[in-house]
């Protein structure tokens, strides 16, 4: 491996479909935390619910549109169930319940009891559900090279998926922008700052928090579906680390900003690949086995991001002045 390959690999992450999927899921989290101040510590659960909903529906012959509807409906139900007991309580309760619920979904999905439906711990193979989406591709079914990057036109991690993924991300970034700059978004920001003040002004805080939780959850579920198009439905790929990465990249890019989740996701994935490749190039096998490189790069990325959050806590796109206010 030489430097040219390294930069190609890292550069690919800038527009990779997985980057788009995380950006999309983080936009959902931005509705929760950035706008409303909700501490959703189980966003991966929403993603997983969406993936299962879509993949199972399509596998059973329901088609793509129905699959998307099921994915979103499941996220709505999941959000309502999580929000109903917790949104009247202090913020920490939501955090505890979401972290537990996300784990619950994962364990349920990978349990042998559900093997016929969810595929147990092996999950659902891509070939079971990707076909209807990939059949929409206008690109030829072959490897296509654009500049230094080579990808398949249609299958799995494809140029088609890149195009669709980023279009969807753009659409939801636009939605976030529209809503966060509306009177509706203003109520959410008020709730983020002080619930009681918003109550005293006659707004139904519970209903607004529920709306934010559900819409953010639905976007998370769509992020999960997008993720599953370039990977497979694998319960263990949507564990706690995924949630924490989403938080990291949201804070890195800048919470409550329109482009924060997108920039955060790009930087996160590029940095991860860069560190991993550099470790492979410069650290001899005798020091670190190939299998140790992945955890090592995650640790390094984690430390880097920690430093970033310490020295630029408002994130890259956040507003310094806003952050100086600490009460």
């Amino acid at each position: 491996m030489d430097f040219a390959d390294l930069f190609t690999d890292a550069g690919r992450e800038i527009f990779a479909p997985t980057t788009a999927a995380f950006a999309l899921a983080a936009i959902g989290l931005n509705f929760h935390f950035g706008l409303t101040g909700l501490l959703n510590m189980g966003h991966a659960g929403f993603m997983l619910v969406g993936m299962y909903g879509y993949a199972i529906t399509v596998r059973e012959g329901g088609g793509m549109v129905l699959g998307l509807i099921v994915a979103m409906l499941l996220a709505v139900v999941f959000g309502l169930i999580l929000g109903w007991p917790t949104l009247k309580l202090r913020g920490d309760y939501l955090a505890i319940v979401t972290i537990a619920a996300a784990e619950f979904v994962r364990f349920l999905g990978r349990s042998s009891v559900m093997k016929n439906i969810t595929g147990g711990s092996t999950g659902i193979r891509g070939s079971d559900y990707k076909e209807p989406f990939e059949s929409l591709s206008p690109f030829p079914s072959e490897q296509i090279t654009i500049g230094p990057f080579t990808m398949h036109g249609t299958a799995s991690t494809s140029w088609f998926l890149v195009l669709v993924g980023w279009s969807v991300v753009g659409l939801f970034a636009l939605l976030f922008w529209r809503l966060s700059n509306s009177p509706w978004g203003r109520v959410l920001k008020g709730i983020r700052e002080d619930e009681d003040a918003v109550r005293s002004l006659g707004k139904n805080v519970y209903a607004y928090k529920m709306q934010a939780l559900v819409i953010g959850g639905v976007i998370g579920a769509l992020g999960g579906v997008l993720w599953s198009f370039s990977a497979a439905v694998q319960p263990d790929s949507m564990g706690r680390p995924t949630t924490f990465w989403l938080w990291t990249l949201l804070l890195l890019g800048g919470a409550a900003t329109v482009f924060g989740p997108i920039l955060g996701s790009i930087i996160f994935w590029t940095a991860l690949v860069l560190v991993r490749s550099l470790a492979a190039m410069f650290i001899p096998e005798t020091w670190m086995a190939a299998t140790e490189r992945e955890p090592f790069s995650l640790v390094l990325v984690g430390v880097t991001l920690m430093l970033l959050v310490i020295f630029r806590p408002q994130g890259i796109l956040g507003n310094r002045r806003e952050l100086a206010i600490n009460d």
Partner: protein
């Protein structure tokens, strides 16, 4: 002691035949001519402590009523109970004849009864203008689906903004409208909270120590503003420790101590009441607490 004998000094309208308090007895729980709030047997206990124990309480419509009493008397707790932010163990209370018993704070506010807090609740990471806009009631764009279509709410937003600008000028915050509320001083936050409460055109405003920390010059202009509100038909109920302010603007004073209402009366005589003197001063009757500043 003080110059209570000269009524004109208080600067209020002289008592006329139109005075709604002319025939109101000077006693706790006195019935009013036109009541906007009525509370009965409202009791709130915190463990062993009975913070509020109000047998009967009425507020006269379109008047300025002061609720005073020593620290810990239960004034703020009573405010919380009336506005739905806290629930009493027992009691019944109503606004405009409608029971507020199991109403949420938001429902209470929407029905026209808006309050401010003793510990200011400015929305720090929102601008002063956004704070103000949030105060407006019945906004079309606060509905999720309609929020997506600015054409539906842009006009209302402009009206709300114009109204907010007007209020900000009155509260001397117009120069700060694009600053974050968290960048305001303590007194300015109090002002913002009060102005924000007025954005919804409430029927009654309940202010918990509105002038604490506001400089004297501005206090004067705000007092004028509160009197102005009354002329516009708004009812004002406020908690205040500053006796000067109480004397200057209130039509009626209700005194609380240890959770109970111990006296009611017009501002220039209620302080002479022995029970009030006791509550405030204990045995130190020789101290002159109520002299005009």
């Amino acid at each position: 002691m003080t110059d209570k004998a000269t009524p004109a000094k208080s600067g209020k309208n002289p008592k006329s035949s139109k005075d709604p308090f002319a025939n109101v007895p000077h006693e706790p729980g006195a019935p009013k001519m036109d009541k906007i709030i009525v509370a009965d047997h409202v009791k709130r206990r915190f463990g062993g402590l009975t913070a509020v124990d109000v047998a009967h309480f009425e507020v006269q419509r379109n008047a300025i009523t002061a609720l005073i009493g020593p620290n810990g008397a239960g004034k703020s707790t009573f405010f919380n109970l009336l506005t739905g932010f806290d629930r009493p163990q027992e009691g019944e209370w109503s606004f405009n004849g409608f029971s507020l018993h199991s109403k949420s704070p938001a429902q209470v506010a929407r029905s026209g009864m808006v309050r401010t807090f003793q510990l200011t609740k400015a929305l720090s990471r929102m601008t002063v203008m956004e704070n103000m806009r949030l105060g407006a009631a019945q906004q079309v764009g606060e509905n999720f689906f309609r929020a997506l279509f600015p054409a539906l709410w842009r006009k209302q937003e402009a009206e709300i903004t114009a109204k907010a600008e007007e209020l900000l000028v009155r509260f001397k915050l117009d120069a700060k409208k694009n600053d974050y509320a968290g960048e305001l001083s303590g007194g300015q936050r109090k002002l913002l909270e009060m102005a924000r409460a007025l954005m919804s055109d409430p029927e009654i405003v309940m202010l918990d120590e509105p002038m604490a920390g506001v400089n004297p010059a501005l206090t004067e202009s705000l007092l004028d503003h509160i009197v102005e509100l009354k002329k516009e038909g708004v009812t004002v109920l406020f908690v205040e420790h500053d006796m000067h302010m109480v004397r200057r603007i209130s039509d009626w004073v209700v005194v609380m101590a240890e959770g109970k209402i111990i006296a009611e009366g017009p501002p220039d005589t209620v302080m002479a009441n022995a029970a009030v003197q006791d509550a405030y001063l204990g045995s130190h009757h020789d101290t002159d607490l109520f002299e005009e500043r």
